[in-house]
């Protein structure tokens, strides 16, 4: 009788279990079937009403039923949970093609990035960085560099004068040559001299009143024009690529003798000729030369014993060539739409 009842309960519970489709109904089913007050648990407790002869069989069956229902429950539970999870995930999918949220990344100004590259290359080549002032005396900017007052060579630099006579904004980083020589004499020197320079010029797409320059200076007892060529060729390879052609041609600077201009094969047309290189295939990258004996002397070095070379290059111009920037005003204009591309 009781056994029958047990089997009925078992069968009914099993049917109910199969129909349970949510975690909630499963939970209710478990409470009502196998919980403390559940149907099966209640029946179990009635074992005491049975005669001793029926007890073993009933007990055995009870255990079987419990075990089976428990197993069926676990099975159903996994099924329902999986289904539920899948339904939930199906409902809250993302449009993965929406744009990501950009955290605002900081960036160095492109002029700084180019300067850093120049610092690194010259650093690798044994040149240290020496800085000097922006507001200079006429003496350091011109006279000590073999450019006397009224000398026609002054036409090469359009100068900002200050209201203080003899005080100007440096037109190039070359005055740093004298500062460095006077500080280090009679040691050998290998330095680069970066800094902001100023020229009295209309601000246009191609010319600025303020620009960075990096001067280089090497002084020693056995430095020649061949060393200058070798060293600058090395720099050009590191800066512009191993296979990029370069050429040196004679030029004029009052503070170097012999003087030269270094051209690099145009990186936009690979030397075929284009608008940027004015169809020459070459880009003017830097001016250079052997330090003029007068300048060495003004720095404290005896030109009969010492020699050296100097060069000057423009980081903004290099950046313009490298990145295809057509307007130099973008640098100090600081439009974020420009800066963010670096």
């Amino acid at each position: 009788m009781m056994l029958e009842q047990l089997n009925d309960t078992y069968q009914r519970s099993l049917d109910q279990l199969q129909n349970a489709r949510t975690s909630e109904t499963l939970e209710t089913w478990y409470r009502q079937t196998l919980g403390r007050k559940g149907d099966v648990t209640q029946l179990t407790r009635q074992v005491g009403y049975l005669g001793p002869e029926d007890r073993p069989a009933f007990g055995k069956r009870v255990n079987e039923v419990k075990k089976e229902l428990e197993a069926a429950y676990q099975q159903q539970l996994v099924k329902v949970r999986t289904a539920e999870l899948e339904a939930k995930m199906a409902a809250d999918g993302l449009d993965v093609t929406l744009p990501g949220r950009r955290y605002s990344r900081g960036r160095l100004h492109p002029a700084t990035q180019t300067l850093r590259e120049i610092y690194r290359i010259w650093g690798d080549m044994g040149f240290q960085i020496y800085r000097s002032r922006d507001v200079e005396t006429d003496e350091f900017n011109f006279e000590l560099l073999n450019i006397p007052e009224h000398h026609p060579a002054r036409d090469l630099w359009d100068t900002f004068h200050t209201t203080e006579p003899g005080i100007i904004l440096r037109t190039h980083t070359s005055p740093g040559q004298i500062h460095a020589m006077r500080e280090y004499c009679p040691e050998p020197i290998r330095v680069i001299l970066p800094g902001m320079c100023y020229r009295y010029e209309q601000i246009t797409a191609r010319s600025e009143i303020q620009f960075n320059q990096v001067e280089g200076l090497a002084v020693g007892k056995s430095i020649s024009m061949a060393d200058l060529k070798g060293t600058l060729a090395d720099f050009a390879k590191r800066m512009f690529g191993e296979e990029r052609k370069i050429r040196f041609r004679a030029s004029y600077f009052p503070f170097t003798e012999p003087s030269a201009e270094m051209d690099v094969e145009c990186m936009l047309c690979n030397g075929d000729g284009c608008q940027v290189c004015q169809y020459t295939g070459w880009l003017e990258i830097l001016g250079c030369g052997m330090v003029h004996p007068t300048v060495l002397r003004n720095g404290g070095y005896d030109p009969a014993v010492y020699s050296g070379f100097a060069f000057g290059l423009g980081p903004e111009r290099i950046a313009m060539l490298k990145y295809g920037i057509e307007d130099i005003r973008l640098f100090w204009g600081n439009d974020l739409r420009f800066l963010e591309q670096f």
Binding site: V135, H150, G220, G230, T231, A250, P258, N334
Partner: protein, 843 residues
């Protein structure tokens, strides 16, 4: 300097292609920036007209006959080398004089002649428009050929008549072979003024290609009266005017110069005027000596005032006070005291070496010419040109140095050309006043010096040969060379100058490339720069964008930072430009912030969120010396939403505020290991009251931080409702505080105990003061005290606020007991109660 190849060939044989020649010159320092091809193939401009060799030929005009039906047209009979003569209908005014004169063959009248199918520029259209010549009826006569104007060939804009070629030609010769040319545009650098002439360039070409220079003929046939009866020369200033050569040419005829001379002048970029002026210009372009022509009769009339019957007296001197001169361009100049004048005893005549005066200028009625060829001090010429704001071809050359030796050659050359082409008679003798003859001092040069500076191994013989190619006189003395510069050079002062010439002639491209073998100097790092660059990197890591602004600004722009008191950011004077190029950039900045805020205002049009910094100098006029202090500053600005809005949710956007920028600065200082950064409430006219902090490190002020005063935001035109937070820090103080090294604390292996306390204190008590007391009272076991909540309002009494802290206690060497922690906590609370009257909120 424009150098027509056809002209250059007068003085040197060209043995290479035009392009190779240009390359050689460029490497040697005469940079060819452009090659203009005329009528011949070459160059990159594919649109340019190249003359057909078989359809554009030289034709001889044999007869000019009237057109039967038109008065304004004539018929020209032309022999162009074909089987039959061709009859051409033309309206060229310069053929009308020959009308009806019968056979013209004895006149040898040649012109460029285009046959049907030739491509030309259309003479009747503005600019250069190509057209193909087609046969057509012209007033009843079929016309299939054409005599060409200069415009139709693309030589000039001249379309008044047909181009008449002077000289002897073979009919049928391609025009290319007669008029085809290439013009080299050469950039003349300041030390090669000697090459600002065709002969000067030819001399370099000869040296570079191993050819011989053919100098022009400097001889002159003199058949007039003795010149010293006509003119005498004196000077006050032999230093400024070392030489003055004068010649007189009588009976010149005012007419156009020969066709070939006009063509050369045009190709060289000069407009032909008349034969006297053209010869003057031609000689300057040809051999580099500028010269000047005066109307002799004008001077003669004046001489009769001061020395009747005597020679005219030309005197060079400095101006008298208040003296003025009107130059031939019509401008009257106040004369600076150092500008040398050519005068007669009555008046100044010209600015020596720069420009002639209007009074004594050659005019239509001039028949007798006084020709001046002089030498001037180049520095004084440049100084005068700058002061007078004059540019002239003569001044360009003299300001870069023309050797006095050239004056005599130039004078003779010009006089001879005037005799030949202007029909003049040259007076006999030359007035050559040469008070200050320069001395070319011999310079010693050795192979060792060429090796030491130039880096090339050359024998003495080779060096000698290279220098001699440029006309240096070289004496081989066995172990060294003694070198004397040629007369035309003024730029050789020492052996290093000679090394440059050797290198140029050897070829810069052939100098070897070597690595420096010299001692490597002691390696020093630049600590200041390293620290600055490190700060830039750290700020970039913290999400800040680097900005670089102009260092030139105006006091007005910077005064906007102080809108209420309207003064400048620093009391010390500005460095001010004497010659600003724009009113926007007049003084060197006192502050980075003003420029940075302008950049914010500009970018606000496209961008809500900005976090900027700049590192750079400010400039304060020196207190004692003349040079200013250049001081490194760091400025930071933040404004806009916390993060850029994304599209995936409507999260409420909170604006960046005071504490965001303060957090960046705190992070920066912890990264550079400077401890003791503190902020104290302060007031500053740039910043909003109550949201302004003075930043200190160990009681030393390092800068300001705050939310910008709303008036500042307004005056800078920064749109939007977001607050703008800014700071300017003094790197001169901060950089030296950065320690070279720092120590790391051990990380304790024992558990930490966390305790929270919430206090109620007076509203006005700064959080920093509370934290300071907690830190002191907490002792060494208090690892960290962290403020996590600030609250005002119910149930906190008015005038009070609640501050809540996480306290972390930890011992380096044992596990803390509850008792020890409790004791420490009680000590902290007690100190807070005693010093601030704080009460525990949960007590």
């Amino acid at each position: 300097m424009r150098v027509p190849l056809s002209w250059l060939k007068d003085y040197v044989d060209i043995t290479t292609s035009i392009e190779e020649l240009a390359e050689k010159l460029t490497i040697a320092g005469l940079e060819v920036t452009e090659i203009d091809y005329v009528g011949i193939p070459g160059g990159r401009d594919l649109e340019r007209l190249v003359w057909d060799r078989d359809k554009l030929v030289v034709g001889q005009i044999l007869e000019v006959k009237p057109h039967p039906d038109a008065d304004r047209l004539v018929l020209a009979v032309v022999d162009y080398g074909g089987d039959e003569e061709e009859i051409v209908v033309t309206g060229a005014p310069n053929l009308f004089p020959y009308l009806g004169q019968g056979d013209l063959s004895r006149l040898e009248l040649y012109s460029p002649f285009a046959l049907e199918g030739a491509t030309l520029y259309d003479g009747h259209q503005e600019g250069q428009v190509k057209m193909k010549l087609k046969g057509r009826q012209l007033r009843g006569i079929y016309n299939r050929c054409m005599l060409c104007s200069e415009k139709e060939l693309g030589i000039s804009d001249e379309h008044e008549g047909i181009m008449i070629l002077q000289g002897k030609y073979q009919s049928g010769t391609p025009v290319q072979d007669v008029l085809g040319d290439a013009v080299l545009e050469i950039d003349i650098i300041p030390n090669i003024a000697r090459c600002a002439s065709i002969v000067g360039v030819a001399r370099e070409v000869a040296a570079l290609t191993g050819q011989k220079l053919r100098e022009p003929n400097y001889e002159v046939l003199q058949e007039g009266p003795p010149v010293n009866k006509l003119v005498r020369i004196t000077t006050d200033e032999p230093e400024l005017n070392p030489r003055f050569v004068a010649l007189v040419i009588e009976g010149v005829e005012q007419k156009p110069s020969p066709e070939w001379m006009q063509r050369r002048l045009r190709l060289a970029g000069q407009r032909p005027i008349n034969v006297v002026v053209d010869i003057s210009n031609y000689v300057m372009l040809e051999m580099g000596q500028p010269n000047h022509t005066f109307d002799y009769d004008f001077l003669r009339r004046r001489a009769d005032q001061y020395d009747p019957g005597g020679p005219i007296h030309i005197h060079t001197r400095l101006p008298e006070k208040g003296e003025r001169l009107t130059t031939l361009d019509g401008i009257t100049h106040e004369l600076p005291p150092f500008t040398i004048l050519v005068t007669d005893p009555v008046n100044p005549l010209s600015l020596g070496g720069i420009m002639g005066g209007v009074d004594s200028e050659i005019n239509d009625r001039t028949t007798n010419v006084l020709l001046e060829a002089a030498a001037w001090n180049f520095i004084n010429i440049r100084r005068s040109m700058v002061a007078l704001k004059i540019n002239s071809e003569a001044g360009f050359r003299f300001s870069r140095g023309v050797h006095p030796s050239q004056a005599l050659l130039g004078a003779k050359r010009a006089a001879e050309l005037m005799r030949l082409y202007a029909g003049g008679t040259v007076a006999q003798g030359i007035v050559d006043y040469y008070p200050n003859k320069p001395w070319q001092s011999p310079i010693v040069l050795t192979t060792a010096e060429v090796k030491r500076i130039g880096g090339i191994d050359l024998s003495q013989v080779e060096i000698k040969r290279l220098l001699e190619s440029l006309e240096f006189k070289v004496d081989d003395r066995g172990d060294h060379l003694v070198v004397v510069s040629p007369d035309h050079r003024m730029d050789i002062e020492q052996s290093q100058d000679l090394v440059e010439e050797v290198c140029r002639m050897y070829g810069y491209d052939r100098i070897p490339e070597t690595e420096m073998s010299d001692t490597l100097p002691p390696q020093r790092s630049n600590i200041g720069l390293d620290r600055e660059e490190n700060i830039k990197d750290l700020l970039v890591q913290l999400g800040m964008q680097e900005i670089i602004t102009y260092r030139l600004t105006t006091p007005e722009k910077e005064a906007r930072l102080l809108p209420v008191i309207k003064s400048q950011p620093d009391d010390r004077p500005y460095i001010t430009l004497a010659n600003p190029i724009t009113v926007e950039r007049v003084t060197m900045r006192h502050s980075l912030l003003a420029s940075l805020l302008d950049i914010v205002a500009v970018n606000r049009r496209f961008q809500e969120r900005m976090t900027f910094f700049e590192i750079g100098q400010i400039y304060l006029a020196g207190e004692e010396g003349l040079l200013p202090d250049e001081l490194q500053r760091l400025a930071l600005v933040m404004t806009g939403p916390h993060i850029d809005p994304a599209c995936d949710g409507d999260r409420e956007q909170e604006g960046l505020n005071f504490f965001d920028l303060k957090g960046v600065i705190e992070d920066l200082f912890s990264a550079i290991h400077i401890s003791g950064l503190a902020a104290e409430a302060a007031s500053h006219p740039t910043f909003r009251p109550g949201r302004t902090a003075r930043l200190l490190v160990n009681d030393r002020q390092i800068g300001w931080l705050g939310e910008l005063h709303p008036l500042v935001v307004e005056v800078f035109g920064i749109h939007g409702d977001w607050p703008v937070i800014a700071a300017e820090l003094d790197l001169e103080v901060i950089l030296p505080l950065i320690p070279d090294e720092f120590q790391v604390r051990a990380v304790s292996a024992y558990p930490a105990v966390l305790e929270d306390i919430a206090l109620i204190v007076d509203r006005g008590i700064p959080a920093a003061e509370v934290l300071n007391i907690i830190d002191k009272a907490g002792g060494y076991l208090l690892q960290k005290a962290e403020l996590f909540d600030v609250y005002e309002g119910n149930p906190i009494p008015r005038g009070k606020k609640s501050l809540a802290y996480h306290l972390t206690f930890q011992s380096p060497d044992k596990t803390l007991t509850d008792r020890v922690v409790r004791k420490n906590r009680e000590r902290i609370v007690k100190q807070l109660e005693r010093q601030l009257g704080a009460t525990l909120r949960d007590a």
